[in-house]
Amino acid sequence: MLRALLLTLSVVAIAQAELCKPDAQNAFKVRISIKTALGDNAYAWDANEEYLFKAMVAFAMRRYSSKSTTQISNVLLCNVTDRVSFWFVVTDSSTNVTTVPGSEVEAAIRMTRNRINSAFLLSDKTLQFLKITSTLSPPVEPSTPVWLIVFGVVLCLIVAGIVFLIVSGIQKHKKKNKESAERENLEEKVEVTLENGIPCEALDLKAGRINGVFAADDERFTSL
């Protein structure tokens, strides 16, 4: 009885070893870089973390095909290295000797990638599934490109400056024209009231227009 049990266990173990080995069919290599991601807060990779990993993969398989009955024991891990890298394979829950096709596992993992990452506090780059590529998220782009806004501000300032300078130049020009025009007017008025270099007002006061000498001579001659 005991021997039969031991025999079946060893057969199962050998079978499992056959299923999970590097480059086996439907097996995936995982590489984890905890120290790169967390630095001083890095945790050690031990059997408990492996258990969590198996649980997450089982969870992913269950989510993917809702009727799935994948158990944690269906996820096999092997060849764990110090790097922290290992291979894993998912066995079919109905028959414990065949593995789930790789495409299904890949699709399941892709669907639940975020949850798996956050369970380990890692990212796509630090928790790598070597054959499963991730789609990159597009960069956030604002509705109007920022540079247009800055450009608009700069242009408005410059146009305001130019307009201000041109307007002030025109005003200065007009003031200069008005000043020179006033000076010309003043000179004309001065000319009008000059006769022989003597202002007319002065002449009138001195009664210069009517020469009294000649007027007085009229009495010497007899009138006709």
Binding site: K35, D82, L136, W147, I158, I162, L165, G169
Partner: protein
């Protein structure tokens, strides 16, 4: 009325508000983008500290004498370049016309460089900086191929900014974003030069002093960066063997000449707005020394940053190799660090040679990264922008850096525009009653329209052509004729008396020797050497071609014949003006001598020149 004061002749001609404005304008004109991106490069490739020896010799025997000559000429004759040379001798008016033409050509393409700087400036307000990440390709599975093969910085410069075509013969389309920036740049130039030196004199306070502030900030920041000392040691370690190469001496002479912006006519224009009794000798020495000191001062932060960039590239190379090794050999993380990298490599190579060779690791050598030297636009828009991404607070550094470049370029543009504006003003192109604002507006508008050609896809190839041919050979020729004209046609004895009247001191023996003999000889040698070097190989250029098999290396191509013809035209046209205009005046004189009613042309002296 003997007691009445003389009406000063300076009344009708605009004047500088104070001497400081004038000195600052000359310094701003001389100190330009070349001080930041050409001088450090020359120091690097020509033996570090040893390059300073030919540089200072060239400064002493070529730079300072020519600068003094131009400033004294402008101050004495109180006219722009065309008018001044016409006054010296009508047969030499061609020299003035030549400088005017070179100023026009350089103004056209120089503003495009400022356009690029402005484009980078307005893009620096984003987080993350647009040149730090590659855009994704159409189906979002990876990055854009062109970007991925080269770098994000290269992609942003060649594709997003220039949208460059793979060949100069393919013009491509007008890039609307560059047109917008170009219009803005010309609007800024118009704003600052709208009334000639009245407005540039105020603007220069900002544009000439601001770069020094930013350089100091970068210096302090640069010295704190890791790897900065490596860069500085690399830059300043003198290698005296390099002095045996005549190329080094030629580069020093040309660098001093182009750095001081001689023979553009701009310096003559600036000096012509001075009062006659001004010490032009001290001014010339001051401006030349400040220019050279600025070059040295600017090369320190540049090399700190380059050293930082080389160190980070070296560390990246090491880190990539370490990751590859750890992944392949399944070693625990952080078992191999940068410090014990070499010991691990030798251990692994001896224990597992085939597996190790299968990794195909790239060799990381710090010296190799330091040796990558770049000058010109490559330094500013590729190397520096990459370094800025790595600094903390990159937006602020990028904004500061590009404002600094913009101020440096803008103050040089003022000199270029003044070299175009002043002679046109004196030639009375527009009626006297029309305001100055109209003339400067016309100049800026026409320049903007012509410069639209440079916003095409092939624009940057054309800028290289203009830079290499229009902004180099004609200047040497014009400067040579300037010295010969003043010393042998105007006669140095007369000029010495004029300078003595202006400065109040007798002309030093140093000036006599350099003006009479050394400077013209040096110019002739430099011109000949420059020409022979250009003609040694057919003119070629490097094109950015994503379909090239060696991509991301640039493809070396030869200019097609029609482009070569344009190069020759650009170089020859300003030079050919000199004999053409002399011939024109000769013909005019012959016709005038046949008509006895005209008297002989007036002989003048410096003091008798009317403004």
């Amino acid at each position: 009325l003997s007691g009445a004061p003389e009406i000063p002749k300076e009344d009708s001609r605009p004047q500088w508000d104070n001497k400081f404005q004038y000195i600052l304008s000359c310094i701003g004109f001389a100190v330009g983008l070349g001080n930041v991106w050409r001088f450090p490069y020359l120091c690097q490739i020509h033996g570090g500290g040893a390059f300073l020896i030919p540089y200072f010799i060239a400064l002493l025997f070529e730079g300072i004498p020519l600068l003094h000559l131009e400033l004294a000429l402008g101050q004495c004759l109180r006219k722009g370049s065309i008018g001044a040379w016409n006054t010296i001798s009508p047969y030499l008016e061609g020299v003035g016309v030549g400088s005017w033409m070179v100023s026009v050509l350089v103004s056209l393409y120089y503003n495009i460089v400022l356009t690029w700087v402005m484009w980078y400036f307005i893009n620096s307000f984003q987080e993350p900086l647009p040149w730090s990440v590659c855009p994704l390709n159409e189906n979002r599975t990876g990055f854009n191929e062109e970007c991925y093969e080269s770098t994000a910085v290269n992609y942003f410069w060649y594709r997003k900014t220039l949208n460059i075509t793979p060949d100069i013969a393919e013009s491509g389309t007008l890039q609307w974003w560059l047109i917008l920036c170009l219009a803005t740049c010309w609007a800024i130039v118009y704003l600052c030069t709208i009334r000639g030196i009245e407005t540039t004199g105020k603007a220069i306070y900002v544009t000439a002093i601001f770069p020094y502030l930013v350089l100091t900030i970068f210096l302090i920041q640069g010295l704190t960066l890791p790897g900065a000392t490596d860069g500085l040691i690399y830059l300043f370690t003198p290698n005296l063997n390099s002095l045996k190469n005549p190329r080094v001496w030629l580069d020093a002479a040309t660098q001093i000449f182009f750095s001081l912006s001689l023979a553009f006519g701009g310096l003559i224009a600036f000096a012509s707005y001075n009062p006659t009794k001004n010490d032009c000798e001290k001014d010339a020495v001051a401006v030349a020394i400040v220019n050279s000191m600025t070059s040295l001062y600017a090369s320190i932060p540049v090399f700190c940053v380059l050293g930082f960039k080389a160190t980070t590239a070296y560390w990246d190379c090491l880190d990539r190799n370490i990751i590859n090794i750890i992944d392949e050999f399944d070693l625990p993380e952080e078992s191999i660090m940068r410090q014990n990298y070499t010991s691990w490599i030798s251990f692994l190579n001896s224990s597992y040679p085939e597996k190790f060779a299968g990794l195909k690791l790239k060799s990381c050598n710090l010296q190799e990264f330091l040796d990558q030297s770049v000058s010109g636009t490559g330094l500013a828009f590729i190397v520096f922008t990459q370094a800025i991404i790595l600094m903390p607070g990159s937006q602020a550094w990028a904004i500061l850096f590009f404002i600094m470049l913009f101020s440096l370029g803008l103050s040089s543009m003022f000199g270029n525009i003044e070299g175009v504006f002043t002679p046109l003003l004196e030639l009375r192109i527009i009626p006297k009653s029309a305001p100055k604002e109209l003339l400067s507006g016309i100049i800026c508008l026409i320049s903007f329209l012509i410069a639209l050609c440079f916003t095409l896809g092939s624009g940057s190839y054309w800028i290289d052509i203009f830079d290499r041919y229009a902004g180099s050979v004609p200047l040497l020729v014009i400067a040579f004729f300037e010295v010969i004209g003043v010393v042998y046609i105007y006669k140095i004895k007369r000029f010495s008396k004029d300078v003595e009247r202006m400065t109040g001191r007798k002309l030093n023996l140093y000036w006599q020797i350099t003006w009479r003999l050394i400077s013209p000889l040096l110019l002739l040698i430099v011109f000949m050497a420059f020409l022979t070097l250009q003609m040694q190989k057919p003119p070629s250029y490097t094109a950015w071609n994503p379909k090239y098999e060696g991509f991301p290396m640039k493809e070396e191509k030869v200019y097609p014949p029609w482009v070569q013809a344009i190069c020759v035209l650009l170089a020859a046209f300003p030079c050919v003006c000199i004999p053409l205009v002399a011939l024109f005046h000769l013909v005019k004189q012959k016709r005038r001598s046949k008509d006895p009613s005209f008297g002989p042309p007036q002989v003048f002296s410096c003091q008798g020149a009317n403004s």
